[in-house]
Chain length 235, copies 2
DNA sequence: TCTGTTGAGATTGCATCCAATCTCGCCTAC
DNA sequence: GTAGGCGAGATTGGATGCAATCTCAACAGA
């Protein structure tokens, strides 16, 4: 199946830049986040290696990285699976986010300016207007990441990113279920956040993000059926 | 230097248990935490491989894991160094801990019992009694980890552990400097924490840990000289 | 019909080998 | 005397090959 690698082989120098493992990790991460590998899906080294036109060595290193990020679960001498979460585990991640994202916002807020506030408003409006789930998810993520974009942190920013990544498949399933009323509340909270940032009221902004995440967590708790997935294998 | 691996070669089956990479990662992590590799020290793949009686492949996978944990910094086509922190980065980690450890304690507290409280008291007393820095550090860590030991979390427990690991070298340098007065306050805070846990006052326990970490962070801020290390190489 | 076992195929783990890149001291040219 | 370039040694990155382990379906026995 070396035909599958044709798109990559076009750039013959790309395979020789000394970081194939990073490239594989980035590409795999994107594919998992975008749902091309659902939770519970098995990841075979050889298949992945073939697809990226690399050998299994950099693939294994990429899987190691993704395991540390929580996206992949490795079992010695058995294989790799896309991590699957229970409702309780997802709630743990949301509770962690409730504590961390206000802190990250505290790091970011002083560096945000009027142009950023306008971008945030625009993103919030587009979220309210769209009816496409994929676009809604992408805009929501872009909105929050923009609010954190001015934070130059060692690990906190990456950490929050990882927490979003591991819960992304469930956020997608959940977004399909929320009603117009909840959607309106999300929009209001986003608007409140931008307003607090514009006014320089950091305390209020922090509390708004925290409440925003907590509300989502509680709504998620009401949909345990999202986590009882029996279509794919174990783990 | 193959003589150095003699102790490991004694068990010839150990190299064939299908997780050499995990063994190398665990051992390297311990050595970094215990200060055998100081911040900024270069980690050469071949030297490490030789020392553990393995090839460079599992060593590279181990380094990937440690990089994701924040203990090691990798640069493509250049090498691996033990991560070095600036004062600002260390403060970021402490601020993160201030938010996360109260939450972890909330997960753990319901599972702790009288036997655990006694263990905690004993550890606190031994900390007050010792004058050895290494023992003080070990007891401090064991005290806090015991208070979190009943939490069965997906990632929060591991995450807190990683934050302790990356700051361990600086905690050691700092412990050498604190005076008797500060040491007494640490002891009082530990005692307060155990008391709150015994009384089932979770709110108070959470606030006590938070204050405890914040106080340490502020004291650390007063010793920027710990972070201006010019003895070893860059990065 | 159900349960325990066994063996071939599939898959992972690691060692060895080769290519690419970086480091750094020496040499040449101006 | 100084700046720029060159190249040998050291080090990392990746591909291939082999051994060990796991998977799973077919089969034998109760």
């Amino acid at each position: 199946m070396s035909r599958a690698t044709a798109a990559l082989e076009g750039d013959s120098t790309a395979t020789r830049d000394g970081n194939a493992s990073a490239r594989v990790a980035d590409a795999l991460r994107e594919q998992i986040i975008h749902g091309e590998y659902p939770p519970g899906a098995r990841l075979r080294q050889e298949e992945i290696a073939e697809r990226f036109g690399a050998s299994r060595v950099p693939v294994r290193e990429a899987l190691k990285s993704l395991e540390a990020e929580g996206l992949v679960t490795l079992v010695a001498n058995a294989g790799a699976w896309v991590s699957r979460l229970t409702l309780a585990e997802c709630e743990e991640i949301y509770q962690t986010r409730e504590r961390l994202e206000p802190l990250l916002l505290r790091y970011s807020a002083p560096g945000l300016g009027p142009a950023d506030y306008d971008t945030l408003d625009s993103l919030a409006e587009r979220m309210a207007a769209t009816e496409d789930v994929a676009e809604f998810l992408a805009l929501d993520r872009e909105f929050h990441m923009t609010s954190y974009s001015a934070a130059s942190t060692l690990m906190l920013g990456d950490l929050v990113n990882r927490l979003w990544n591991t819960t992304q498949p469930y956020r997608r399933a959940y977004t399909l279920l929320i009603d117009v009323h909840s959607q309106r509340i999300v929009h209001d909270e986003h608007h409140l956040l931008v307003t607090a940032l514009r006014e320089g009221d950091l305390e209020s902004a922090e509390r708004t993000v925290e409440s925003h995440i907590r509300r989502t967590r509680r709504l998620l708790s009401g949909h345990p059926e999202i986590f009882s997935d029996t279509t794919t294998d174990r783990r």
